[in-house]
């Protein structure tokens, strides 16, 4: 904080002002000279100055007040310098703190919260803040605290957030407090967060507000078991638990769909829109192409996700002879049938009852691929939903030890999807989760199990235990990695093992170090790859600039043939930098450089990294870059770019991307594998007919859902070797996106949790951090009535005073309470 520039602000020609102006600008220089000689004398000077300023600020003369405020800022800067110096010399700082306290008190009273927070952060005495906030300024203070936390290093961000949490609870702003608690979850140990969440629940007496908390927890994708302390009444607790278990998600989603009138099922042809293309469309093929049918299966699943009806798989269930559903299923070849059967799960996603009823009949098939698909479908349908009876576990457990490896993979992956993120060592948990571990870890050690089974087991464990740092699971995966033979290590699927390991530490930063050390002892074929994967997962969503630089450094190396670790390094840049907007833009620019100077194995990962950075957020310049890359001479780069075009437009129905993909489909009509990618991307763009998002960040980009990120990362790692995995027989990894799928809606409900339509304004969110007064939070808004769709970067606010929302952030489910003070305007 330089003192000089601050003075320039008040240059209007009052002689009195000029006189005072000179004092601060000259004095510091004098003092700088003296500093070394006499410290205490300087304190006295400081104190005197402060008193002078305080006096002046209270002066009736407006001009004088303003100048005093300016000077106060200078003083704060000097104190910070002085503090740093004294800490270095280990001198006493008590007198300084007294000064600080006075300044902070002054700042807080005069709408200068950011200055107060800055000063306190400099002198490392944030606790002081709690004393000085009041009901008028706590919101601005906390906003500044939380948004500055992203840019703070190491443990500082924790303490800043902790203070914000304390302030929020002090003023009973529980939803915000809860959000901070959840934010801490991404870095902290589970128990710590659990206590915070519990504290929020116990300190809030209002049942309705507790329900809102449950909605927030459900959106984060955390499974929680409420205990009696949190809600004494059994019935209420059951109601709350039901919200956390997400059982009503499907209902809310369908309410939105009905309101927007998109219930009508869509066929893949409706998406391809081949009639808009000139003669290029491939000559009316009379023979089925297995690859194109598989693509149609996926497109159908993504587009009709969650609607419970489609035009390929579910249609004939009412028709007499159950004929043509089977027909479409059998229009897929071998492993394609697995994806087709599993697509039923996607079509009924979140609706466990209806979904299981539809899938049930496929369990009795005599085709192993169909059974495998049904098992996977059970997992997909249960994704993010918890049911009291745990049907997924009950159904899948029996198939884990079957002979056929495709059935095993189906069951394992199904479990991984259904129970992703459910592992948390919550006290007294009655959930039979330990049994998932008991069932899956032995498979890792099974010497007879084929590599693909082991790889998917590692991923499933990684998903279930995402971010848990669970040592037993980590051990099991490490041993499995060590047991691999030299030839196994060269297989493309082996890359899933380190990834499974990495997911255990997702976002947990330093906690990964011990495991990273162990990974250094691995076979050199996989050592570097493992190292990159672990690091990128551990620092995912932290915005840690040093790690981004580390990854960039790795990409600068020139590799011997056969090394592949630069792929995860490039993805790592995106995973780390996606945390906040500034870092994100920087990462996009750095990736542009990699494109120009990087070698093939880097270039093919860059589009995927771009896809992750802008997921479900079609930024025009990224779109242009990807469009250019989609015509790249290198097929793998082109395929990655095409898939990423789908990812950045996922669930948006973006017309521009849709047009690009349509043209690509005619451009690549002869190249089956690229055409497949184009189709998948088209499916992504129209996912859920445009009602869904894949963005793992939610609640105004504040919270990161670890399971969503994990799902995306698995998909992207699989895309690093498109030929072997997605174009091979493991195309069902595409279903991992289900973890990230969420309706991008605002659904307001009344006190009985029934949908309630109110007017809301939806517009581009404005950054109001550090702004005084009550600035507008959205710009260019339109007024809609709920339920309403929210695009990336949109924010909603109520357009009526009649209701009070129970959550400050209007996203997902929001409970509205009638405003008791509201008077109808006559």
């Amino acid at each position: 904080m330089e003192p000089e520039p601050n003075n320039t602000g008040s240059g209007s020609g009052n002689p009195k002002e000029e006189a005072t102006l000179k004092v601060p600008s000259k004095d510091p220089k004098k003092k700088d000279d003296k500093k070394d000689e006499d410290l205490s004398e300087e304190d006295v000077a400081l104190k005197q100055q402060l008193e002078l300023y305080v006096e002046r600020v209270q002066d009736v003369d407006q001009g004088l007040q303003k100048v005093a405020l300016e000077s106060m800022r200078n003083l704060a800067g000097e104190i910070a310098q002085e503090y740093a110096k004294r800490v270095n010399e280990e001198a006493a700082v008590k007198d300084l703190i007294e000064l600080v306290e006075q300044i902070v008190a002054f700042h807080m009273k005069h709408n200068a919260e950011p200055e107060a927070v800055d000063l306190l952060m400099e002198v490392e005495f944030l606790d002081l803040l709690v004393k000085h906030v009041d009901s008028t300024n706590y919101k601005r203070t906390c906003l500044y605290l939380t948004s500055s936390a992203r840019y703070l290093p190491g443990p500082d961000d924790m303490s800043v957030l902790d203070i914000a949490y304390t302030i929020y609870t002090k003023f009973e702003e529980f939803p915000s407090a809860l959000q901070i608690a959840l934010y801490l979850h991404n870095m902290q140990h589970w128990m710590f967060v659990w206590q915070h969440v519990k504290q929020v629940f116990t300190s809030c007496p209002d049942l309705l507000r507790k329900k809102q908390f449950c909605y927030i927890l459900a959106r984060q994708g955390l499974s929680f078991e409420l205990d009696e302390e949190m809600c004494a009444d059994d019935e209420d607790r059951e109601a709350l638990q039901e919200i956390i278990n997400n059982t009503k998600l499907s209902e809310g989603y369908l309410t939105l769909a009905r309101d927007i009138e998109v219930m009508e099922p869509k066929s893949p042809e409706d998406i391809y829109k081949a009639h808009l293309l000139d003669g290029r469309a491939s000559a009316g093929a009379s023979v089925d192409s297995a690859r194109q049918n598989l693509a149609a299966t996926f497109v159908n699943a993504f587009v009709n996700a969650g609607f419970g009806q489609d035009k390929l798989m579910t249609v004939p269930s009412e028709a007499s002879s159950g004929g043509s559903s089977g027909n479409w299923l059998f229009k897929n070849k071998e492993h394609g049938k697995a994806s087709a059967a599993a697509s039923l799960g996607m079509i009924h996603i979140w609706d466990v009852d209806a979904g299981l009823a539809q899938i049930d009949k496929y369990f009795h098939s005599n085709d192993n691929h169909v059974i495998a698909g049904a098992l996977l479908g059970v997992g997909v349908v249960n994704c993010g939903i918890k049911n009291d009876c745990d049907p997924a576990l009950a159904l899948l457990a029996d198939y884990l030890d079957k002979e056929d490896s495709s059935i095993r993979i189906g069951a394992i992956t199904g479990l991984g999807l259904a129970y992703a993120g459910t592992q948390n060592e919550q006290v007294g948990i009655s959930f039979p989760l330990h049994c998932i571990r008991d069932k899956l870890t032995p498979i890792l050690g099974d010497p007879k199990a084929p590599l693909d089974v082991i790889a998917f087991t590692a991923i499933a464990l990684g998903l279930v235990y995402v971010g848990s740092c669970n040592e037993d699971v980590a051990q099991a995966i490490i041993f499995a990695l060590m047991d691999r033979s030299e030839s196994d290590l060269g297989e493309p699927l082996t890359r899933l093992l380190p990834l499974g390991l990495g997911l255990l530490y997702l976002g947990k930063q330093d906690s990964v170090e011990a495991t990273a050390e162990v990974s250094k002892t691995f076979n050199e074929k996989i050592r570097k790859y493992c190292d990159m994967t672990l690091l990128s997962c551990a620092y995912a969503g932290t915005g840690n600039v040093l790690k981004v630089q580390h990854f960039l450094g790795q990409c600068a190396q020139h590799l011997e043939k056969g090394e592949t670790f630069q792929g995860p390094a490039v993805l790592g840049i995106a995973m780390v930098a996606m945390a906040e907007e500034l870092g994100l833009d920087m990462a996009i620019r750095s990736l542009e450089h990699l494109l120009q100077y990087g070698e093939q194995n880097i270039r093919k990962a860059v589009p995927l990294a771009l896809g992750l950075l802008c997921i479900s957020n079609p930024k025009v310049h990224v779109m242009d870059t990807l469009s250019r890359l989609s015509h790249d001479a290198d097929t793998e780069v082109a395929m990655a770019a095409v898939i990423s075009l789908g990812l950045i437009g996922a669930g948006t129905n973006n017309a521009r991307i849709a047009g690009m993909l349509r043209n690509l489909s005619s451009y690549y009509y002869k190249e089956a594998s690229l055409l497949f990618c184009v189709r998948i991307a088209q499916g992504f763009v129209h996912m859920g007919k445009g009602l869904l998002t894949l963005a793992p960040y939610h609640s105004e980009r504040f919270l990161l859902s670890p399971t969503a990120l994990a799902g995306l990362v698995v998909l992207l790692h699989a895309c690093l070797d498109m030929k072997a995995i997605i174009l091979g027989k493991y195309h069902y990894v595409l279903y991992f996106v289900v973890l990230a799928m969420q309706p991008r809606m605002l659904l307001t409900v009344d006190e009985n949790l029934k949908p309630l339509s109110v007017a809301v304004r939806v517009g581009q969110a404005v950054d109001v951090v550090g702004q005084a007064g009550r600035p507008k939070t959205i710009t260019g808004f339109q007024t809609h009535s709920t339920p309403v769709l929210l695009a990336a970067g949109d924010r909603a606010e109520l357009a009526t005073e009649k209701y009070i929302p129970l959550s400050p952030i209007l996203e997902g489910f929001v409970i509205l309470k009638e405003n008791p003070d509201y008077r109808e305007e006559a």
Partner: protein, 480 residues
């Protein structure tokens, strides 16, 4: 006896009693009564696992009011259809051709696009293909030299390859034989083969084929190539000075479309091409005089080849320069007014039939709307049958049907060979060929690209885009 609630799909059955002394199978039968799902299809999910038929209630610890979930449907189990679908990926390559809808491309072996495009155009003539297949491998008649024989065999093999493959074919063998037979195509320039005039290639190949396929060894002693492509011309040569007049007949393989300043359309160009002036010794005048030659078509081929005379020898630059003038050509060409009077008479009847047929097709629609009498209906169905047969007859290649097919003088465009560039020996040749399924494919060497029909007529010149150099029309016939 505890009572539990059972959830099945969206329904909830509260208060189902469990008789804990009986095995779970009995409980399942209870549920069968409620839901209609047979016990063996039921899956009952309790906390912690599935209810098995042999499990013991006492160990499961069912509590009063516990919620169970039942899964299962009475739906039919999906069975694989007896005959699974056939996938394109599984087909052998020759069958994939059918699915792709067009034949393979040809690799460019170094400035051989003139040859590739010529072969692609000729390849689209099924009659030529079928007569080549009959061509004997070994038996070479004495009046045919060895290189012509080899070229014919190579052509046959190349056509076969094109039909069998989806991926582009390298016409190595053919290229070598062609160079051997016609050494001019083997000219080198700066160490690589030179670009050649496609028209020359076309003419030479057709000439060779006509020699080879005429061979007396084959049963019918006719010239297949001539039957397919030959155009009989009758010309009246008239000398204005002396008043001498004589009739000449000749047979050519292509009509020339002369391009001058007045020519904007193919038809005009053809008319120009059929009139020419020549100087020759006049016996009556005893010196050379100017004769006017006025030709008419006296015999129509099945495939009418038209060459746009776009190139002329430019002495100053010592190369074949190109006329870029735009000359439109139609998808459907009628050459009736270029025919001689004799031929016109012959054509009258088939043309009338063709008109009638068209009229019937148009009229049929009208009548369908106005509900016609029964008699009419019968006639109509007759008419339909008739037209169906005739179309069958026209599509049947060379099949001798009881009705004889007759030419009508109306032709449909089936192939265009275009040139892009400023002189015949440079630039790029491309073939645009109509496939049997009616789609147009642009064969740009090894890269076949589907095109729209309306874009084909845009190749008429007037710029630096591909422009038609040789057009091939197929006769529209009627059965008599």
């Amino acid at each position: 006896m505890p009572t539990v609630s059972v959830k099945w799909q969206k329904e909830l059955y509260p208060a189902v009693e469990i008789d804990t002394t009986q095995p779970p199978y009995v409980f399942k039968c209870q549920l069968y009564d409620l839901t209609g799902v047979p016990p063996e299809r039921q899956k009952i999910v309790m906390k912690g696992g599935l209810l098995k038929d042999d499990s013991d209630w006492s160990k499961l610890g069912v509590k009063e009011g516990q919620k169970l979930m039942m899964m299962g449907t009475a739906d039919e189990i999906v069975k694989a259809p007896e005959k699974g679908p056939v996938f394109m990926e599984d087909l052998p390559e020759e069958e994939q051709v059918v699915a792709v809808g067009h034949s393979a491309g040809l690799f460019n072996l170094g400035n051989t696009c003139y040859m590739n495009s010529t072969m692609q155009c000729l390849h689209s003539v099924p009659e030529l293909k079928s007569s080549l297949i009959e061509y004997p491998q070994a038996g070479r008649s004495n009046d045919l030299d060895q290189s012509s024989h080899l070229l014919t065999v190579a052509t046959r093999d190349l056509f076969n390859e094109l039909d069998k493959n989806v991926k582009p074919v390298a016409p190595m063998q053919f290229w070598m034989v062609l160079r051997k037979k016609y050494p001019q195509f083997g000219q080198l320039h700066n160490g690589s083969f030179m670009q050649q005039d496609a028209e020359e290639c076309w003419t030479q190949i057709l000439y060779t084929l006509s020699q080879a396929l005429r061979s007396p060894s084959s049963s019918q002693n006719t010239d297949t190539v001539k039957a397919l492509f030959g155009i009989d011309l009758v010309s009246r040569v008239h000398c204005a000075e002396s008043g001498e007049e004589s009739l000449e007949t000749e047979s050519v393989y292509s009509l020339k479309c002369h391009i001058s300043h007045e020519v904007n359309h193919l038809h005009e160009g053809l008319k120009h091409g059929l009139k020419s002036e020549l100087e020759k010794a006049s016996p009556s005048l005893g010196r050379s005089a100017v004769y006017l030659k006025d030709s008419h078509i006296n015999g129509l081929p099945k495939y009418l080849t038209i060459q746009f005379v776009r190139f002329f020898w430019k002495r100053e630059s010592n190369q074949k320069a190109k006329i870029l003038r735009k000359v439109d050509y139609p998808l459907e060409l009628d050459v009736f007014d270029l025919c001689s009077d004799d031929l016109r008479k012959q054509l009258e009847a088939p043309r009338q039939m063709l008109r009638d047929e068209d009229g019937r097709k148009a009229g049929l629609k009208l009548k369908e709307k106005s509900s016609a009498s029964v008699d009419n209906d019968v006639k109509m169905s007759d008419a339909e049958n008739g037209s169906g047969e005739s179309s069958k007859a026209t599509s049947g290649e060379g099949v001798v049907s009881d009705k004889k097919t007759q030419l009508t003088g109306v032709y449909d465009l089936v192939a265009v060979l275009t040139h892009k560039g400023r002189s015949a020996d440079s630039g790029h040749y491309v073939a645009w060929v109509k496939q049997e399924n009616g789609k147009w494919i642009q064969f740009d060497d090894d890269n076949p690209i589907p095109q729209r029909e309306e874009d084909i007529t845009k190749l008429s010149g007037g710029g630096d885009w591909h422009m038609a150099y040789i057009c091939m029309y197929k006769a529209r016939t009627v059965a008599m």
